[in-house]
């Protein structure tokens, strides 16, 4: 029986290796799924851009359970895919446990961190979400007439607090007396995909006086943006450029260029430079979105102030506190 299993296993892995002899890249989406209109979809867009520009092929999988994280990594590595790109911080622990078994395969963890000294074949890509959020926070405070702005997060996890903390610092930098109302949608992964609750939270924040609301909540954010547009206040989108969703109602979007990171990693192929990469304002890894949909909303004065702050952050003159370094926030309490 065991002999039989081994033979069949060997035959199967041989067949699989033959299928991917060219070392195509592979992409593993986090539990949120490929089409979340946000983080994972940005990764998918990056992979699609890679495929259409280079004519290359890639393999992807949407995870369904925690135990599949390690499984998908191993199966892709054994089948010869290289590099194996993953999204979401939850992938960093599984990568750390499998990376040593596949020294010739390059792994990429986006939003995660794996110690490069212990695992030389892993690239950790981190984004300075707090810097981008700081800039949109400044814009929100300048656009606000009531002096009260809102933040709607997805699940209450450190990453989202990092967004909220940067945002609140930006708001306070413009108007130290401003009030920032912060709400999290929930405590289960369902919080990433609950537009109805996002809408209710937005209404609650409006009733407390908020007239600009920033959503960092995946699919839930769509409800926030919709309600803000319906109630005639401004909103701020996240991750991808969401300005087009409600032209003239979305002040701007905090861009997190996951797509660029994925595309770059795939283009480098098996020769990928590993280590740790932090993509901030200087690298255009984060930023704020300007297009024809929000031109009329952003005054020249706002633009100058934000560009000025951006230059100062890049130069190190303004230090935006990163919540995840010490789990505390000077501008907002959770």
């Amino acid at each position: 029986m065991t002999l039989m299993t081994k033979f069949l296993g060997a035959a199967a892995s041989l067949a699989l290796t033959a299928g991917a002899a060219l070392a195509d890249p592979a992409l593993i989406y986090d539990l949120g799924g490929k089409y979340d209109k946000s983080f994972n979809e940005a990764a998918f867009n990056g992979a699609e851009a890679y495929a259409s520009e280079t004519g290359g092929a890639y393999k992807d999988i949407e995870l369904q359970s925690e135990a599949q994280r390690e499984q998908a990594l191993r199966r892709f590595a054994e089948a010869g895919f290289n590099p194996v790109v993953t999204t979401g911080f939850s992938m960093s622990a599984p990568i750390a446990s499998v990376a040593a078994d596949y020294p010739d395969t390059k792994f990429v963890t986006i939003d995660g961190f794996v110690n490069p000294e212990e695992h030389p074949n892993v690239l950790s890509i981190l984004f300075s979400e707090h810097e981008g959020s700081y800039l949109v926070g400044m814009m929100a405070a300048m656009a606000s007439k009531s002096g009260t702005v809102g933040f709607v997060g997805g699940m209450d996890i450190p990453l989202i607090r990092k967004f909220a903390c940067g945002y609140a610092q930006g708001v306070k930098a413009v108007n130290p007396d401003a009030t920032v109302i912060s709400n999290m949608t929930g405590t289960t992964p369902a919080a990433w995909n609950d537009p109805v609750k996002g809408s209710e939270l937005t209404k609650a924040q409006i009733s407390q006086g908020a007239d600009v609301v920033y959503a960092a909540a995946g699919g839930t954010g769509l409800g926030v943006l919709q309600t803000a547009a319906d109630e005639n206040i401004l909103s701020v989108g996240v991750d991808s450029n969401q300005n087009y969703l409600h032209p003239g109602k979305v002040l701007t979007s905090m861009l997190k260029r996951v797509d660029v990171a994925v595309k770059d990693a795939m283009e480098q192929g098996p020769d990928l430079q590993t280590g740790v990469m932090v993509l901030g304002l200087a690298e255009n890894g984060v930023g704020y979105a300007m297009d024809e949909n929000n031109e009329a909303l952003v005054s020249d004065e706002m633009k100058t102030a934000v560009e000025d702050a951006k230059a100062k952050i890049i130069a190190g003159e303004i230090a935006v506190h990163d919540y995840s370094t010490d789990d505390s926030c000077p501008a907002l309490s959770f």
Binding site: T5, L31, I61, Q64, E66, A93, P158, T188
Partner: protein
Amino acid sequence: MDKMPAWADAVLVPLISILLAAALSAIVILAIGEDPVAAFKLMVDGALMRSSGWGYTLYYTTNFIFTGLCVAVAFHASMFNIGGEGQAMIGGLGVALVCLFIPFPHWSVALLVATLAGAAFGAVWALIPSYLQAKRGSHIVITTIMFNFIAAAVLNYVLVNLLRPTGAMDPATAIFPQATHLPTFQDMFAPEGSRMFRGSPANVTFFIAVLACIGFWFLIWRTKLGYEIRAFGFSESAAKYAGISPVRITIVSMLISGGLAGLMALNTTMGEAERLVLNATEGAGFIGIAVALMGRSHPVGVFLAALLFGFLYQGGAELALWTNIPRELITVIQALVILFTGALDNMVRMPLERLFLAARRRDS
């Protein structure tokens, strides 16, 4: 005699249900332009034809045995425990706390203490709904499902604010100390240097699940308490007349139920992740309902049903890896099996019963 033979009830009905579900799934796969035969082959190959596939199948099976038994105990007392999910989450907290804060000399000691802690935490989480049911008449279905949300919120708070290592992004505890790591199937069965079971998460907890099945059978059919639980389940008023306290049976059977759910955390938290993650249960508590229904609340049935769902989970993962069948459709296939075996049980049973009766009448 208005019943069909026991073998038909236990074997034929689930088998026909599964075949119906498979046929419908095949149509679904055909409709999106994929080959159902190839898909089925891929599932069998990935889940049953390689040792690491078995490692995953049995890992999921272990989860479903615990949650299936959890629901089955409550069924015997005619209660519907939908709270397996929350009880397993809190059980995971118990397992994590002992693993993190007690310096164990050896995994066997750690396993013993973690088993007690997981069961105790799970049982405590079931205690409040069962008390409310027994003393206040608040329906257990409502309270247990509400407690799932409370458990999620508690776990989130504890992980984000208390147990998370400073600076870590992931809402999860630190990795448990080396001494608490349970031996996996690879450690136990793979000869030196072989790749058998490599990387697969099945571990020694599987045998605890099998022991739990045997213990379950003994408890329900061979002890006084089991007799009382079943008597209470058949008729509350008769049980009361016979001197069985409804309050006691309600609470005790729910404590056992919650304890079994809590044990699931041994497998996911201590065996697989070796740390407590936020999403450790991922719906196994709800699958347990389907497992218990399909397994007729009997440990052998629960074991087989858990194996089937383990196969579906691991086979589904293979489909996701190597085909273009989207993840949502894999969930649809899993749901069809639950629908046919759990919810539409009578659709198969009634015609089959009539068939058997007709055959018997002709014989006589």
